[in-house]
Symmetry: C2
Subunit: 261 residues, 2 copies
DNA sequence: CAATAAAGTTAGCACGCACTAAATATTGTG
DNA sequence: CACAATATTTAGTGCGTGCTAACTTTATTG
């Protein structure tokens, strides 16, 4: 009856679903606020994964049994060290796959998320290694998000959101969330892609829409969309309280293997 | 570039497991015998998938409910038209992926099966189309097996097995099963790969081992291994007649480790 | 042809993972 | 502080997919 219970060391095979939870906990844990380990609420995970909150509770208990997360009843969840490692592996897989699909198979950058979402659970470490190798071990994915290294290091610098820039600020688009293709197309139509330079001209009074110059064009973006865009300040400007010690990095570098951070 | 809308004629909502059953039914249904659908036994499916026979019965009932197979109690299962279509799609995905991994990512041809086995359930039709396109729409996979076309056609010619050739026959190796890497390595060590020309010199009396000339080398292969090799006769000859004594299914065979190495 | 072997099925169970409804804990507010 | 609003968990359910054990049907064969 009582199966010899698992609850072992970190490296057990997880189901795809469990992996998704881990990834969600990681991403939500570092969303919005730079400071790392905010415990993640059940509802937030439920919303992210599109399932009922009650289901999340159960799964988290399972993950806790496996030693991948810690939960404090009614007070959220955070990853353990091994849970974090797994989450980063998964994110690496996701981003390597996205990069590969765009660069080698001609996928549109705004259409690649779902495919990667499915493949990331099936791809072996060898496959990921080979893809990364073919691409010259890129450090960012097509949406500008940093790719964790094979040994689990990731550039976790918190960047400014386009939505929080002050009027007059100049910035370079570093990346944006990859999970909504329509958002990505919306942004792309306005020239907002990784590497683009933008300048905030003004804000609309009622809805907070942001008027900016992208290249030569004048564009308006809604604050909701803008909040998904991460930017690096290009010139000193008053911008909240964020200090981005921007180690300048060339965007599409090829061949780069040293763990530089 | 149609946007991926699933749920067309045959609803595309199968789980990975169900897909595996379909594939197993297809492959077992045409193993050994060329002419179409011999009903496939529960045990054969169970053995192929590595699960208990009782579990197979249940799943087949589910698939029957979905209209993908027909079962006659105690008398085996066969695919319906839509089940067959799905199976062929899956096989196409598998073989395209194998081809891609070998040709574009440097995988060894004998090491590609498991990876493909997992990816085939996650890859979208668009991904498969793009992979096939990049490869120039190949018609056979790295093991010589024909790749079904996107619209579900496959070259189903039944080829001779190396095990059934008569002494003196000349043949060209067309392909071999992909699911056992150690078998593939065993064959490759003897020069037996798709395209190789072989001539049957003799047979060993006790174990039926086949002595043949591959290129310039003299090689011996066990009948178990040989039965997994499909060949095309190179010279007109008596070989076709052999099927009178050709054992269609030469016994499930007990676990055998390759004789050497 | 009756006895058995082999193949297949049913029954009952477990686990993963989702759901809804209801209970309970925490938090914010008048 | 009491109470409502919100967040979270528990309880009970269902489906997919596997298992073992026991039973039934079909095939073999002495």
């Amino acid at each position: 009856m009582t199966r010899a219970d698992d609850a072992k060391a970190p490296s057990r095979e997880l189901t795809g679903q469990a992996e998704d939870y881990l990834k969600a906990v990681y991403e939500l844990g570092r969303a919005g606020d730079a400071s790392a380990d905010t415990p993640v609420g059940t509802n937030a995970i439920a919303e992210r994964l599109g399932i009922a909150a009650a289901s999340v509770t159960g799964m988290l208990q399972r993950l806790a049994r496996l030693g991948l997360v810690t939960t404090e009843r009614y007070h959220g969840t955070r990853l353990t060290a091994s849970g974090r490692t797994m989450a980063l592996q998964l994110i690496r897989r996701h981003r390597v796959i996205e990069s590969y699909l765009v660069s080698r198979l001609g996928f549109a950058w705004d259409d690649v998320h779902d495919e990667a979402e499915r493949l990331e659970h099936a791809a072996s470490p060898e496959l990921i290694a080979k893809m990364a190798d073919v691409l010259g071990n890129p450090t960012v994915d097509p949406h500008g998000a940093p790719i964790p290294t094979a040994d689990g290091k990731i550039d976790e610098r918190e960047l400014e959101s386009l939505a929080t820039l002050t009027v007059g600020a100049n910035a370079r688009v570093a990346g944006m969330g990859d999970r909504d293709p329509s958002l990505l197309r919306y942004l792309a139509e306005r020239g907002i892609k990784p590497g683009a330079r933008v300048r905030v001209e003004s804000r609309e009074p009622f809805d907070g829409a942001i008027v900016l110059t992208v290249g030569r064009e004048r564009q308006t973006v809604s604050p909701g969309a803008a909040s998904n865009v991460r930017v690096e300040l290009a010139t000193a400007g008053a911008a909240r309280e964020v200090q981005s010690r921007a180690t300048p990095r060339p965007a599409p570098s090829r061949r780069r293997r040293s763990a530089d951070s």
